[in-house]
Every structure is written in C-alpha cells, then in structure tokens.
C-alpha cells in the first residue's frame, strides 16, 4: 500500500499539469505585490510601465489624453499581461517544486520510535515521538515500522522500502557494518529488524534538507544568475536612458520640422518594455527553480543551487572503479596453483581462508571452490578455526586452524601479491617465480590476483575478475567530447588499474589509491585551475569529498560521506554524476540562450516601433517599416503583444531547459547561436507581422 502511494506521488509531472495550472494562475496575480516585483528589476520596470499606462488611460478618459483611450488601454492591458505571464512562469515552476516538497513532507508525519535503553537488540524500549530523538539515541525498528530519523544500523539486517525517498520500488538490504549501514528517516522496514543509532538532530535530517532546498530554490541566486542579473539591469538602464532622452529629441524634431506630434508617453513606455530584456528577465527565476526541480527528478539532493551550477563547470571527474566503472564486486574466476600444488589443493586452502570472510570477494571464492571441486562449506567451530580479519596493518586475512593441537597452528593467509611476498620472505622462504608470473598475468588481464599461503607454503594465486559495465565506454567518450577528463580511482595495483582503465576508456587512473593520495590528486587538479567532481560513499572518501568542488555522496553511503558532499544521490548510482553535470549545464545554457534571444529580438522591435513613433514628424521614416505593418498603432501593439506572448511561448523551454549535446564547445556554441541568436533576430519579424495581420484582420486597430 505504502509503496504504491508514495511512488505515485513522486511521479514526473506533465509540464502543464492541470493540477498545477490553476494554483499557478492564482499565484501569478498574488505576485503583483511591489515587493515581489522588486526582486526582478527588469520586470519591475514593466510593472511600473503598466501602472503608468493605466494612469494615462484614466487621464485620457477624463478627456485630456495624449492618445486615444482605446490605444492606451490596449497597451496597458498587454503590459499587465507581460507582468502576469512572467509571474505565471515562475509560479508554475514553483508549484511543481512545491508538489515535490509536499509529497516529501507527507513522510514527516509523526512517527513513534522505539527508543532502546541500551544499544543492544532485546533491550527494553520505550515509545517516544520521532521529533524527540537526539543524535546518539538508539532505536529498534521492526517489520512494518517506519525508520524515525536518519541513522546508522549497528545491529541486524533487514529489507527496507526506500521508495518514498528514491522512487525505486524494489526493497533494499540494510545491515550493520560495511557500506549499507545508513538508513534514512521516512523509509519502512519490510522484514526483520534493525537496531539503529540516530545520527542527526531534529531538523537536520535528510527530508528536512530536501524540503528546505526545494522550497528555498527561489530565494538564493546562484553566482552566474547574479552576474547575469547585473548585465540585465545595465541593459535596462541603458534602454531607460534611450527612451527617456527620446522625448526631447522628438520635441526638437517636431519643433524644427514643424510637422506632426511629439511621441506620446504611452509609445515611449511601449518602446521601453519592448527593448529591455523582458524575455530573460521574466523567465530567469523560473529557469533556476526548474533546474532544482530537474535535479529532484533525477533523485539528487543538492545542498545549494551553487553546487548545481558548479556541476556544469566540472573539468575532471574522479570515479571509483568499483560500482561505477565495473559491475559491483570482483568475482573469483580462476585458481592458478604454484608448482607442485594441485588446483584442488589451492581451492581448498583458499576456501578455508575465505570461510569467515564476509566480503563479496571472499564469498565468491567459496562459491567458485564449490562449483569447481565441490568443496563444501565447513563450520568454523568444527575446525577450531579462528578468523583473522583484514586490517590496514597486516593487509591480509585468513584463518588459524587447530591452535590447541600439538601440530601447532595452521595459518592460512590470503592477500595482495606484494603483501604475501613480504610475509613469505619474512618467514624465510622464497616466493616462487612461477607465482609471480601468474600474478602478473592476472594483473595484465585487468583482474586482481590474490595469493594464498598455507603455513609457509605458497599455494598459488586466485584470479578475481572485474567486469566493466556495458555502455560505460561510450559515456566516457561523450564526457571527453564535453571536455571533461575522467579519472578512475582504485585500490588495485598499477597493472590491474591500467588494464581496466584501457578497457573502460577512462583518460587516467589513480592506482593503489589511499585517502591521502585521492586528496593530493584533487588538490593538484585544483591547483591547475580545474574543477573536480567526485562520487564517494565510504567514510574514507570523506576528506576527498570535502575537498572536491562537486561531491556527490551515495545515499547508501556513510553519514560522514554524506556530510562531506554537497549533493546526495538517492539512487546511490555513481554514474549519476554524468546526469548532474548535464543538468548543471542545461541551467546555464537556458539562461544564456534566452538572453541572446532577448537581445536579438530588439532589432525587429526597432523596425516596428521607430517608424511608427515618428511617422507624423518624418513621414519618410515609413520606409523603415520593412514589415509593412498596417498602421502606427497596430505596429506598436503588435510589438507589445509579441513581447508578452513570447514569454508564454518560452515557458516550456525554461522549464525543460535547452537540450545539452556533448559535441564540444565550438559546435555547441555555433548551434545555439544559430537557433537563439539568428532565430532571435528572425522570429520577431515573423511574429510581429503575424500579430499585425491578425489585429488588422479582426479590425482591432
């Protein structure tokens, strides 16, 4: 029940969904408040113009008008429409975001949590409201319960429905330890139980951040938006001076030519509104809100619009090999025994060493041993075996068997070739050259060699195969065309890393990566003036995430990683970075394209209004009426109407964004210049002429 409901609420909405239209129209009128209008200086000028023409209309009704009341009224009405259309565009984008926020807020319904007295399964618990939970509290979540707040699983394993947050209906496994220990408030446990330590205080949780971001999108301007706003204000001031000074010029012309009437204030206001960049001015905030909304649809939460914009600027992408470039985890694929060791003996030792190893690699060795030689899983206790886990110091894992027997310990170890070589040599034995060769062969194939040692005897190597994801090579080629360099990060040795890098088609790789190495790499790229993006999920990624310019943490990752990043991917899909880059770029492209379009429009508007405004003084200027508009008032009305309607016509583009194509900067620029630059010159000529024909045909003017 819950699954389907929440899923439907996060469905993509149509551009002009009827549920959104009506509230948007209402809100368009509400936004007529001066304080709201002041937020967009360009539209504020139109707003003042609308008020002025309305007053001029009233004046003309009193018989002292500067032009016919119907003309002034029509101008005033269309100026009001211009303002309303811009308001409507913004409202529409906001209502889409609000709908998204509302579906999120529904998750915040009061949840009763089972707070444990001691952090242990089976301890006594008391019911308290989720809002009262503090960081560090430990709660029990059982089948059917909703996880109250974000936390970390410290005990247990359970299937969790995270569709409410991610929109993905398939349940996921959450368990203690490792990379799947983070749980998100608002998700529901479907089976089994979890003991969860709360990691955030009220109001800091994920959903809170998400709602704040969606609702706050309109309030914070991104850096490029600020720069663009400054330019738009400058253009508005210039055109204000142009139109204001036109009045004395017109008066002088009338005085010297002794013919005609000076240009009316209504016409000057119409000219001003047509010249200032209303198209981009009216749609600027819409584009920003829509960009955030698109991020939400991609299931990415950005902490700020600034981060979204920065994503468009990324030059270098650091990608973790595992999960991003290769399919999940490595699988054991072959046993390569040392001389005088049979494959079965090697498999047996390897299986013993991996019995208690819960890593996917360890499990895959057990599986392979069973498949090849039918070696069954053995009970650790029955063997008197003690698991020796992997530590950063020893860099190997294995088992000690039969410590109480007189034969003494049988120590089986597995680990990377160089570690094991050092281990064997420390025991005073020679590492067989055949094994070294086998190790190199494996590495050259892009697989990972694992050397198994039984006591002091080198048994051989196990090949752990990496499988490169299908289609990833094409994505990297696309990124290269976008001008983005891809760097693969892996803990593998150089040989293995090089083989996989070549297979996947990345530009560069960092082998044997440690957290410090990653940090150094990011800093060196940044010192070259590049913008670095990376994805990460583990706690050891946190420093690098904090250093990167765009850091996407996986939702499944640890809390430390999520806090270090400036975006969180709810789907925990590392290739999402590519989409994020595209959304960032789209936002800028849409702004740039509409600005170009808006400025280019002015040429046609001049040709419509200038002859019309001065034709009574200088009839010769009618030669500039290249569109052959039927009359001066029709020409001015057509320009004003076009100016208003173009905003409506471009709302879908502002919401959807200009499509990004990875074809390189020069081609992309050429394409957009043709469409929005040249198109911006031509479209208004056609549009104004059409409107003029309609107005004349319906004899409105």
């Amino acid at each position: 029940m819950h699954v389907s409901e929440s899923h439907s609420s996060r469905q993509r909405m149509n551009l002009f969904d009827s549920r959104l239209l009506m509230p948007a129209i209402v809100s368009a009128f509400k936004k007529l408040h001066p304080r709201t209008q002041w937020r967009s200086p360009v539209m504020f000028v139109v707003y003042i113009g609308s008020i002025l023409t309305s007053l001029l209309f009233i004046q003309s009704l009193l018989g002292k008008g500067e032009a016919s009341p119907s003309f002034i009224l029509a101008t005033a009405i269309w100026l009001w429409f211009t303002v309303l259309f811009a308001n409507f565009a913004e409202s529409l984008a906001e209502s889409r975001s609000k709908a998204q926020a509302a579906s999120l807020r529904a998750l915040k319904k009061t949840v009763i949590a089972k707070k444990l007295a001691t952090p242990k399964h089976g301890a006594a618990w008391e019911e308290i409201s989720a809002g009262e939970l503090r960081k560090g509290d430990v709660v029990l979540v059982e089948t059917g319960d909703v996880i109250p707040v974000d936390g970390e699983v410290i005990e247990g394993i359970a299937t969790v429905d995270e569709s409410a947050i991610t929109g993905e209906s398939a349940p996921v496994i959450r368990e203690s330890g490792g990379d799947f220990s983070a749980v998100t408030g608002g998700t529901r446990v479907l089976s089994d139980w979890l003991v969860v330590r709360i990691v955030v205080n009220p109001g800091e949780a994920f959903i809170d951040r998400m709602i704040a971001m969606v609702e706050g999108a309109k309030r914070q301007k991104t850096p490029n938006e600020i720069a663009l706003t400054i330019l738009l204000i400058a253009l508005t001031i210039v055109f204000l001076v142009v139109t204001v000074t036109l009045l004395p010029m017109s008066l002088f012309a009338v005085e010297t030519a002794k013919l005609g009437e000076p240009v009316s204030v209504t016409v000057l206001i119409a000219l001003l509104v047509c010249l200032i960049p209303t198209t981009i001015g009216g749609l600027l905030s819409t584009i920003g809100v829509a960009g955030m909304s698109r991020m939400m649809q991609a299931n990415v939460i950005a902490t700020s619009g600034r981060a979204v914009e920065a994503a468009g600027d990324v030059d270098v992408l650091l990608l973790d090999k595992t999960g991003t470039i290769t399919l999940g985890n490595r699988q054991a694929s072959d046993f390569m025994p040392a001389p005088n060791v049979s494959e079965a003996q090697l498999a047996d030792a390897a299986q013993l060493a991996s019995l208690a190893d819960e890593t996917p690699e360890g499990r895959s060795i057990v599986v392979l041993a069973k498949q090849r030689f039918n070696i069954r899983e053995r009970e650790m206790e029955g063997l008197h075996a003690v698991f020796v886990p992997f530590t950063a110091q020893t860099r190997m894992s294995g088992v000690n068997i039969g410590e109480s027997t007189i034969l003494g310990e049988r120590a089986i170890r597995k680990g990377a070739a160089d570690t094991m070589k050092a281990y064997v040599e420390a025991l005073g034995h020679v590492f067989p050259p055949e094994v070294t060769r086998a190790v190199e062969d494996i590495a050259r194939r892009g697989s990972t060699p694992l050397v198994v040692v039984d006591g002091d005897r080198v048994m051989g190597a196990v090949e752990l195969k990496d499988i490169v994801k299908g289609g990833i090579k094409e994505r990297f080629a696309e990124l290269r065309r976008m001008g983005i360099k891809t760097v693969m990060i892996t803990g593998d040795n150089r040989l293995t890393a090089a083989a996989i890098a070549a297979e996947a088609g990345v530009d560069d790789f960092l082998a044997e990566a440690t957290p410090e190495e990653k940090l150094r790499l990011i800093r060196s790229y940044q010192a070259q003036g590049r913008l670095v993006a990376m994805t990460g999920d583990g706690t050891n990624d946190a420093p690098a995430l904090a250093q990167a310019d765009v850091a996407v943490a996986m939702n499944s990752g640890t809390q430390a990683a999520k806090e270090a990043g400036n975006m969180v991917d709810l789907d925990s899909n590392p290739t999402k970075l590519l989409e994020i880059v595209e959304i960032g770029k789209q936002m800028l492209m849409t702004r740039g394209s509409l600005t170009t379009f808006s400025i280019a429009n002015d040429i046609a508007k001049y040709f419509a209004i200038i002859p019309a405004a001065f034709t009574t003084t200088y009839p010769q200027l009618n030669l500039l009426n290249v569109m052959h508009l039927s009359s001066p008032s029709s020409a001015i009305m057509s320009a004003v109407i076009f100016n208003a309607l173009i905003i409506v016509a471009l709302i879908p583009l502002a919401l959807k964004g200009v499509k990004y194509r990875a074809v390189g900067a020069a081609l992309l620029l050429q394409r957009n210049l043709l469409i929005y630059g040249l198109g911006g010159v031509i479209v208004p000529f056609v549009g104004i002429k059409l409107i003029d024909m309609i107005l004349t045909g319906l004899s409105f003017v």
Binding site: A234, M249, A253, R480, S593, T595, I610, G664, L669
Partner: protein, 599 residues
Amino acid sequence: MSAQSLLLLGILLSLLFALAYPLGLYLAKIGESTTTFGWISKLEHGLYRLAGIDPNSSMNWKTYAFALLVFNGIGTLAVYAVQRLQTSLPLNPQAFPNVSPDSAFNTAVSFVSNTNWQGYAGESTMSYFTQMLALTGQNFFSAATGMAVAYALIRGFASHSTKTIGNFWVDITRSTLYVLLPLSTVFAIFLMGQGVIQNFSSYQEVSLLDPVTYSQAKTTADGQPLKDEKGNPVMENVTVKTQTLALGPVASQEAIKLLGTNGGGFFNANSAHPFENPTPLSNFFEMLSILLIPTALCFAFGKMVGDMRQGWAILGAMTLIFVLLSSVVLVAEQQAHPALQALNVDQTSSALQAGGNMEGKESRFGASASALFAAITTTTSCGAVNSMHDSFMPLGGMVPLILMQFGEVVFGGVGSGLYGMLIFAILAVFIAGLMIGRTPEYLGKKIQAFEMKMTSIVILVTPVLVLSCTALALMSDAGTSSIANPNAHGFAEILYAFSSAANNNGSAFAGLNANTPFYNSLLAMAMWFGRFAMIIPILAIAGSLAEKKRLEVTAGTMPTHGVLFIALLISVVVLVGVLNYVPALALGPIVEHLQLFAR
C-alpha cells in the same frame, strides 16, 4: 566602390599589418618591464630615481588607479594654468591673450582625456609655448595613459593568482620613452620632408595672386553670429588682397597628434591644412600612423597572453567592422550629391577628376582619401580631420558617428581601443559561455559577478553620457542657440558633438558653435567621465582577473579565436554598442538621408 578606393584601402591595410606586427612584438617587450634597452635604460632609471619611484614595486588596481588619476589630474591643472598664463610665458610671438576660463578648462580636459576636442582655433588662440609644452605634452601623456591601462588589463589576463597589475609610473615612462618619443621623432622628420613646417617665426603677411571676394556672416564682438530680427544671419561682402600665414612648430606636434590618436590640430583646419598635411603621400602616412599603435597593441596582447591567435581574433573583429563601415563612407562620398546635381555640377568620376561629393574636401586628397581619413579618424579615437564631416552625405556622416558610438573599440585610441574591445570580448564570452553551459571564461579567467558589474559600468557610461547630454542640450536655449542648421542635421551636429566627446574622439561635425560656456563645460564633463569612468572599472577588472587562477583549455572551453568568436564579438559590439543609438540615428542622419534622396 571605385577601384581607387579599393586599392587605397587594400594597400593601407596590408602596409599597416606589415608594420604593426613587429611593432606589436616590441610593445609586448615594453609591457614586460624587465626588458632593458642599453643607454636609454640608464635614462629611464635615472628618471625613476629622480622621482623617487621604485620601478620594481608592483601596484594593486586601486593604487594603480589612484596614481593614474593623480597624474591626469595634475596634467589637467597644468594645461589649464599654461593657457591662463600664456601672456606671461615665452614663445608668444602673436601676443595672444590668456584663454578664457571655460575654454581653457574644456581644452585642458580635452587633451588630458585623449579627446582633443577643440573649441578654439589653434592659430588664433594658443601661443607656441602652450601648443608645444601643454598640448603636445598631453598628447604624449594621454596616449601613454591609454597604453598603461591596456598593459594593466593584459597583465590581469596573463598573470596567475597575483594581487598586482604593474606599476603605473613605469608603464607611462616606458610607453613614452621607448614607443611614443622615437616613433614621433621619425614621423615628424618624415612630415617635414613632405613640407610640414617647424619654426618659431611670427605669422607672415603675404599678398594673394587673386584677390578674393566672398560674403560672410557678420559676427558680434564675442564671436557669436549676428542675426537679424527674423533670426537669419546678417551677411556682408568682403574682399581680401593679403593673407596672414600662420606658422609655428607644427611637425613636432603633428606626429604625436596622429600616432597618439589625439587629433588636436595645430591649426583649426587640422589635417586639411597644407602645413599640417601637405601631400597625398603625407596624407597616406598620416592615416597609417593613426592606426599603427592601436593595431600593434592587438599583437602585443596576443604575445603577452601567450597566444597570438587571441590577438588576431580581436584584430580580425576590428578590421571586419572597419572595412565594412569605411566602405559605406567611401561609396557614399563617391555618390553625386542630389542638391549639387540639381545645379548641374559634374560629380562623375573621370580621367580629369575623381568625382564624388567634394563639398568640404581638399582637392589634393579627393573623395576617396578624404572619406577613408574620416573613417579612420573616427574608428580610432583620433579625431584629426582632413575634410569637413559636416559636409558629408548623410550616410557618409552617419558612419563616423556610428564608429564613435561603438565606444571607440574598433581600433580605437592608443590603448583605449584595445581595453574597450576586451570589455566587449568579456561580454561576448559571458553570454556565449552561458550558452555552452559553463561559467564563462576568457583566456582561462572566469568571468563572474564582479567583472560583470564593472563591465556593465563600462558599457553604460558612454551611451548615458551621449544621450542625456544631447537631450539636455536640446532642452535648453543655450544648447539649441548654437545650432546653425535647425533641422535633422542640426540635431545630428549635437549628437555628433557629444558622441565625439564622451567617446574621446574629438572630431567635430562643424556647424555647431561649441565655444560657449554651456558647451565648453558640458562637453568637458562628457570627456572627463567618458575617459576616467571607463578606466577605473577596467582597472578594477584587471585587478580582479589578476587574482584568479588561469584555467586550462579543455574541449569544453569556448574557443576565443577563430571565425565563430569573431562573428560573436562583432554581433555583441553591434547589438550592445550601437543598438542604443538607433532611435537617435533615425531622427538624425537616417531621416536626413531619406529626405535627401526622396526628392
């Protein structure tokens, strides 16, 4: 376009590029203050020691701008003082009185701002001392100031995370000492070879071979045209048998007037005067020398930012706009004037005459060389004239007006052309950069809110000055009473005056009596702010860019060389630079053109 015009334009541009390229590389060396040049370096460092300047200390943009303003402020006061005191100063053989306060103020601002608008007539106002020391001195210093700002901006692009943009005192010293002085000396000697005079003699009275009778407007004691009760000027017939030949140290001032894109003539007739510009050859090299340093600076820019293609792109955009618009003047002036045609004046091009509209043009230059000179002097911020722009055909006169209204960025003034064009490049990169989905960057420097704020000021300054001053003049009696032609042409004269002043060009559509307190002070204000209200934000941009990292070029970087960028830059210059003037132009030259040819 006639074959003669094409040939003239072609040869001029070829020779220009051939000379400007090596000069550009040399200018780049001058801009890098580490390069030294033998014994002149000793002189250079001697000057620093004398002034107590540490040439190795680099300034941040605010200090740089402050030094620049102080230097130019003192320069203005000095030029003003010399004019006001010239009776007590030497070298005044004609015993000219002190210049009136408003005219002296206007002239001081005019020469300091590299405008060289002249409300006065040189040969009847200024002593040789004033011409040589005050005016010629500022010809050097104002050009050097332009070069200094250009160097500072280039350094902003070229440097990597630094707080400083160079040392102003070093920049003007090196620009003057290593570039302007040597070039002017060579060019002055060449001009003297062509017949340009250089002496300190008093004026000579010579008898005319043919006594001339003409009618002229009577003037009142204060130089205003005397008008009858209907407002028409009162005419009188005059017969003259002798002529006073004005003399003076012309060549030394002439060379820097052109090389420094100053344009303030020794004589009122400027380069139309035979003592300033005697032969077609001198005329050709005068045109060349106007364009020389602005062109060379484009190459210096490419060299200093480490990518010559960037310099070529800027130069390419400038050249294309220039060729296109100068062709319009050349074609327009080769036309027969309908009014003269009605009087059966033969204006066709033939073996005996070049033809075209010859009103206000010197017969030793003809229509082509006059039209081209007009285009060059206005495309750069020079403002020297060898013909009267007021007498051009409406479209022929509109092009110089438009070329100035571009903001003097097509070649432009020495230094100011390049820095102005780079601002348009920043603007082009900003709009286009957004269009490809990245924070815009130019030459590896991100263009962000601060740069856009300063860029906005730069693009706002001149249109606001030109349009509001024009409107102010039209609304006041003091403004309209100076107009000789009360029609669309009279409006164009006022528009031209303020376009010329605010863009620091200095050429005039004669026909407007601008030597009145009203125009002297309003024009002076336009010149001062047109110069320094641009320079300060540009230095701010230089400072802000210098602090930024230089990003590497990737496939995602928008290329700022090549045809696409040139086309983009031209579109931005046209759309943002000139769109503002369309209504004003429609009420001036455009309607004039339509009226003239509608007959």
